[in-house]
Amino acid sequence: MHRFAKPSVFLKLTAPILPWLAGATAILIAAGLYFALFASPIDYQQGDTVRIMYLHVPSAWMGLFCYVGMAICGAMSLIWKHPLADICARATAPIGATFTALCLITGSLWGEPMWGTWWVWDARLTSMLILLFLYLGYIALVNAFDDPDRGSKAGSALALVGAVNVPIVKFSVDWWNTLHQPASIVRMDGPAVDPSMQLPLALMILGFTGYYFVVLILRVRLELNERRIRALHLSGMFDDNAQDAEPYDPGHNAETSQ
């Protein structure tokens, strides 16, 4: 029943929010970048390298945030069987995967001047790598079915299983790391973050989160409209020979004016 009805509520509600959210995100990221690249002090040990942190930490945050979001969507899909939850989970995965990859890349770039090597089996980096694998598994599963609905539902179940597993993986990787590597390595987060670093960090985290919601809304809208087109195709209204097909008032679909 709510299959098409609720999604149209979503389309209606998000339309006015989107431009504001996009604007706020742009301002937050611009301000964050300014403070991060120009208006923050350099680290007395790391020099300018420390500025990588302003991308690295928010990316790590987003990687986790998106996975939690996917799991929540998965749970909602399981409990209320709401199709929008599946679509949201599906739309979140590539964003989360990209941020996780960004976190790994920046971590590697940061590691090179710090440790003299591009990759260290540091507990945090390793956990993020496994998180990336979980994302990739989800994306592969969701796209492996001819029926997109079946893919989304299977994906939601997997996201939940993964979410239960993430803390166990984190715990085991930490344990493995302390066993195999004595704590001589400089920790990623270094000493307590200086207050002058907190502002750009907070701006970037907020900006990234805003960016996530903008992209999420865009992707969900795209998916909903794609579904609608598929449904209309299946209804046969595009059949050239159909004489009795009633014209369908596109109604709120005419949101190209946005």
């Binding site: 399981l78 492996a144 079915f145 993964g162």
Partner: protein, 221 residues
């Protein structure tokens, strides 16, 4: 309970008649393990150092090899549909099939593991712990793997997909399984690792049948 034994007996019967599956899993395990000396060289010290990890990784891959077929044939010939419609709860059916999978693949691996440990020059101190760790770890592999096997029903390229889904979930078992053996080899107590593995097994036993049954119902829709 009746349903559980019925499914278990039937799957074991099928495994006996079709044969090959258990033998192939063990053969795969042995061949994979023997690849490592070719890769890292036959030096006894190095092999002894990596033995526990190699055995666990190979066991993981071997257990996964057979996962795809846990539900696939039943799905294709319509049996799964009827199992879903039988007056036995699907969770019990799942448990029966998982136990059958473990008996036909996990158990033979445990038997083959000490043999490979000898070939990799592992110290005999680690043997008992290796067996116990595998006894705790392999059922968890089957339980967790069953979720993946159920999720991929009807998907394209199911076999590769199931590895991608399941392997990241296997990492904790690998860490503690190999860790337990290493602790034993260093003359330390492996109790903590084994206890954690036991906890993982219990958690998997309690939670995964529900997840798998849910995934199966989805596949039937």
């Amino acid at each position: 309970m009746n349903g559980f034994t019925a499914i278990l007996r039937r799957d074991l019967q099928l495994a006996m008649r079709q044969g090959a599956d258990s033998v192939m899993v063990v053969a795969f395990f042995i061949v994979t393990t023997t690849l490592f000396p070719f890769g890292v060289g036959p030096e006894a010290n190095i092999l002894a150092r990596i033995a526990s990890g190699v055995i666990w990784v190979s066991a993981l891959l071997a257990a996964m090899l057979s996962l795809e077929r846990v539900f696939q044939t039943d799905y294709e010939d319509g049996t799964l549909e009827l199992l879903t419609l039988s007056p036995v709860s699907l969770e019990v059916v799942v448990l029966g099939k998982v136990v059958a999978h473990w008996l036909t693949t996990g158990l033979p691996l445990i038997v083959a593991a000490p043999l490979m440990a000898v070939m990799l020059n592992m110290d005999t101190d680690g043997f008992v712990v290796l067996m116990i760790a595998m006894l705790l770890g392999t059922p968890a592999l089957s339980l967790i793997g069953a979720i993946g096997a159920a999720l991929i029903l009807g998907a394209r390229r199911g076999g590769v997909l199931v590895s991608l889904l399941v392997l990241p979930l296997y990492i904790p078992i690998l860490i503690f399984g190999a860790g337990a053996v290493e602790a034993a080899l260093l003359g330390m107590s492996a109790t903590a690792q084994l206890q954690i593995m036991g906890a993982i097994l219990l958690l998997a036993l309690a939670a995964t049948p529900f997840a798998t049954a849910h995934a199966l119902r989805q596949a039937m829709e």
